[in-house]
Amino acid sequence: MTEVLIDNHIDVAKVRSDFPIFANNPGLHYLDSGASSQRPSMVLEAMENYYRFHHANVHRGVYRLAEEATELYESARERIGRFIGATHPGRETIFSKNSTEALNLVANSLGRGFLRQGDKVVITKMEHHANIVPWQMLAQYIGIQVEFIDVDDEGELIIDDLERIVDGAKVVSLTLTSNVLGTVTPFTGIAQVAKAAGAIVVGDASQFVPHRQIDVKSIGADLIAFTGHKMFGPTGIGVLWGRSELLDQMPPFLGGGDMISDVRLDGFVANELPYKFEAGTPPIAEAIGLGAAVDYMNSIGMDAIESHDREISRLAYEKVKGAFGDEIKIFGPSDPSKRSGCLSFELEGVHPHDVAQVLDQNLVNVRAGHHCAKPLMRHLGVAATARASFHIYNDEADVDALVDALKETRNFFI
């Protein structure tokens, strides 16, 4: 039908054959990896293998199965920690159930140990609810002040005045990539200014880690959250990375087994890192699955993944804009080279929900809604957008199918 994406970086056909969902859903154009990616069979097999051969609860067992389970679990932690460049992968890589829990852990732990009434926390208007609501809860319960870095018409953060904005802030928490606009934020630059102002810097890397190499040591963050299911891993797992010096000082969040070194009737003593922040039976199989996902990404190569992300983001922007011109409003940077992961848009006269419905009839799967970023939506002046988001199994044929289906949508409604 169309020429195939010229992409020397990734053999998309081969990649697709790693993902059973495509063989099982012929004709599928899956453009919702921003909400959740699909899983390659190696990830599923790693989990199956664990359950079928080695399962037992971790950490406390003296017998062989428990040792094997512990070894698989801790080795996944090591590999994931190394993948993000952690200095002490075994201590600084904390498993949570998703990004959201990781960010709640941060807000609650800082809320207990570091923040007082009136303290300022700076976030941005392009945050996902996961990086807004936990801070609003702190505002409600301990009286912190939440302030927002604004967003301009190009979908970029307005940071001309950054020194003033972060002045006196105790925490600055922001996303590395917007899940709506596709904007990659100037995280490191902001982190430097925030650190200079004495703030703890938190990064929401949920949309960044799936597409770009991250080196937690060098980006200037104190704490970084991301989530397994957007990076080929299973549901039920997320990661919080933190500088060990800071994590050591932070009080625990959830209480229970494994996170203690002693419990008496009148109180408890917290365990060491990383267990201090992992209460109860952890997501063992899920950690092992995420470990396999990281191995898979390494086998493809983060360079190739990033190049593919840049190329398909640009291509989607250009083809959709080319086909619809002023009839479509594309949110986020108009310079396609600044985009990552997704394309959010509004087709004039058609509600995003209706767009997604007609697209689905054409086996083109996109998300329609507020993408858990209502403050940003209000800022953009819309209730919802349609969002196509990409990953390494998508190619030009998917983009063309999107354009064709959008044409059909327009013809249907207008």
Partner: protein, 159 residues
Amino acid sequence: MQGLEDLYREIILDHYKNPRNSGTLEVPPAHQADGYNPLCGDEISIYVNYDGERITDIKNSGQGCSISRSSASLMTNAVKGKTIAEARETIKTFKRLLLLDEEGEKSEPVEIDLRKLGELAALQGVSKFPARIKCATLAWNTFTQIVDELDLQIDGAND
């Protein structure tokens, strides 16, 4: 899978493109209720003038998809001029049409006389699109808040 025509009937597209009873009423005397669909960001406000016996006027404003906006338009048409009891009856029938029970949970189909429904019958196809049911019910659930409020007032007045 269902065809698009099942969902987007002519009547629905007509009410979407030419919404009835859109706008606001002055509050008070009007009663107002607001609804959100947290799943997709749709918002609606319903305004009702009630003279103690009948819904003398009803308006709606908001943002939403074709299903949510047309459902609001159809709903306001359907209940305008009705008593509270009649309006409740209409709400019930509408829920049955979408295969929902009174709590709004999925339920077994119940026989309904489509002819008595008039234009509302066009919403029947929505029942086959689970993700869109919340779109269709938003206006109705928001309107139900006002009906409940009016019922309380009536009870109060009778005390």
